[in-house]
């Protein structure tokens, strides 16, 4: 039992979301296990994107709980930024930082986190050494192992490694506006990877792409899946969902109406809405 608990990366209970008087999510329960690939399908406007965006509180949930790393993300007192560093997100519109080059896009968050931690230690040391002047028993200073430049260099190394992996090394120093849609989305995916997230959320990652570019993005996602990355994917690519996902969720009217393995959901749907939906998309 205990081992089972440790396996669970995200535990969502009774999640609800209201936009004004419009109830978008009506109580969603979901446990996401380590390494699991979950595909979320459903008709447009059913709340599947909203649900995904609630997981890392891009939309503040109205009620329920999301347990991640032993803390409830719905709780406003929890520092959501710390947890978001471990929950990657990939957007439909890529959202690469337009004013940063490709490599800077990938480095930005790791450098921010590293430098922030470094500055915290430095601040603490400054306090300690100040109060040490009044102390008999001097307190030891915290050890500083890196410099800002080192953090930057390491982040850049890692970013270039990631770019090499997706074959875009020569694009490292160009601005995102010069990339194709598929290249942008692949950079966006490795930007999420650069933080070593425990789970990556994909919000319709191929919906804004030209058809001939869908393949390269799906191939990258597939290789992440094969490496055991935990993934939650909102998608309209039924073929991809069937191939990659361990579990398919069908969301309609803000609720999970049916879930199961791809074979169960696609080949033997029970819910009439799901049957209707599949007949239209397959």
């Amino acid at each position: 039992m205990m081992e089972n608990m440790n396996d669970i990366v995200l535990s969502i209970r009774g999640l609800t979301k209201k936009f004004g008087s419009l109830q978008v999510l009506r109580g969603i329960d979901l446990d996401i296990r380590d390494g699991e690939k979950i595909a979320i399908i459903g008709p447009s406007g059913c709340g599947k994107s909203t649900f995904l965006r609630c997981i890392n509180c891009m939309e503040d949930p109205t009620g329920g709980s999301i347990i991640f790393d032993g803390e409830d993300l719905v709780d406003m007192k929890v520092d959501i930024n710390v947890h978001r560093q471990k929950i990657g997100m990939v957007f439909q519109q890529f959202n690469l930082f337009n004013n940063k080059t490709v490599v800077e896009n990938i480095m930005l968050a790791p450098v921010y986190v590293g430098v922030k931690a470094l500055n915290r230690i430095k601040r603490k040391n400054a306090f300690i050494s100040f109060f040490n002047t009044f102390r008999k028993n001097k307190k030891p200073l915290a050890a500083i192992e890196t410099t800002e430049q080192q953090i930057r260099n390491e982040a850049k190394e890692r970013a270039l490694d990631l770019l090499r992996r997706i074959g875009l090394e020569e694009k490292a120093n160009v601005y995102p506006s010069t990339l194709s849609g598929g290249q942008k989305q692949r950079v966006a995916i490795v930007r999420a990877l650069a933080m070593n997230p425990k789970v990556i959320l994909f919000d319709e990652p191929t919906s804004a792409l030209d058809p001939e570019m869908v393949g390269e993005v799906l191939a990258l996602m597939k290789s992440l899946a094969d490496e055991g990355m935990t993934m939650v994917i909102v998608t309209h690519e039924m073929g991809f969902a069937r191939e990659v996902a361990d579990r398919i969720l069908f969301i309609d009217e803000g609720q999970i109406k049916e879930q199961g393995t791809p074979a169960e959901v696609f080949d033997d749907p029970k819910n009439p809405r799901l049957k209707d939906f599949l007949s239209k998309v397959l």
Partner: protein, 235 residues
């Protein structure tokens, strides 16, 4: 034809022989001083107001500050600059019991307050025009609102803001011609004084127009160059 050459002769006499240019140069300095310092104050006030107005408004305090800033903007945009200048000089100054021997500081402050309202709208528009996905992407990798704003949104907004800010400077330069209402000798007044001895204003006013035009053309050329330099990261 004869008339024009006579007017020109008269103007040259006034401008050079009788050292009218000294006065005109002083007026030019005053005009530029009011416009530049006014814009600087305007940018300062505008930045503060724009920050308040784009901040997320979950809490009560930002909401109250937003309302106050909104009133400020409406007040300064809803009344003519001349009226603000007159109120500042003839009503607010005596009310505060301050005595000045020149209207220039008053003009600078009033133009600063006025352009602050416009600049805040320019900045707000610039920030709002940056795709909301940029903020989302910054927040999604775990950077706080302020960091994302500073590192991602504002640098992109500046590209939209700077050209418009240049236009605001042009408007400001031209609008300073009303400061003679509070007895400041600016470019307009100094040119007018060239014609005063003979009541012949044709040449002085034409030259006045030309001077403003040259200044504006120079500034817009500068703004265009700046714009081009800023856009280099796109494409």
């Amino acid at each position: 034809m004869n008339d024009i050459s006579k007017m020109w002769q008269e103007f040259v006499t006034q401008f050079i022989t009788r050292k009218g240019y000294v006065n005109v140069l002083d007026g030019l300095v005053v005009t530029i001083e009011i416009a530049v310092l006014g814009l600087l104050i305007g940018i300062l006030i505008g930045t503060v107001i724009a920050i308040v107005r784009v901040m997320p408004k979950y809490k009560l305090l930002p909401r109250i500050l937003d309302k106050i800033c909104g009133c400020y903007v409406e007040l300064f945009r809803g009344t003519p600059m001349v009226v603000q200048l007159l109120i500042g000089y003839w009503i607010l100054l005596p009310m505060m019991g301050i005595q000045v021997n020149s209207g220039v500081p008053v003009a600078i402050i009033m133009f600063g307050l006025n352009s602050g309202a416009y600049v805040s709208e320019i900045m707000r528009g610039g920030i709002n025009s940056v795709d909301s996905g940029q903020m989302e992407a910054g927040r999604a990798v775990g950077m706080p609102y302020s960091t994302t704003m500073l590192k991602i949104v504002v640098p992109q907004a500046v590209k939209n803001i700077l050209p418009t800010l240049g236009n605001e400077f042009i408007v400001l330069i031209k609008e300073t011609s009303i400061v003679s209402f509070i007895a400041v000798t600016d470019l307009y007044k100094s040119f007018k004084q060239l014609g005063d001895p003979t009541y012949e204003y044709t040449m002085p006013y034409l030259m006045l127009a030309l001077t403003y035009l040259v200044m504006v053309l120079v500034i817009s050329a500068g703004v265009k160059a700046l714009e081009k330099w800023l856009k280099r990261s796109e494409r």
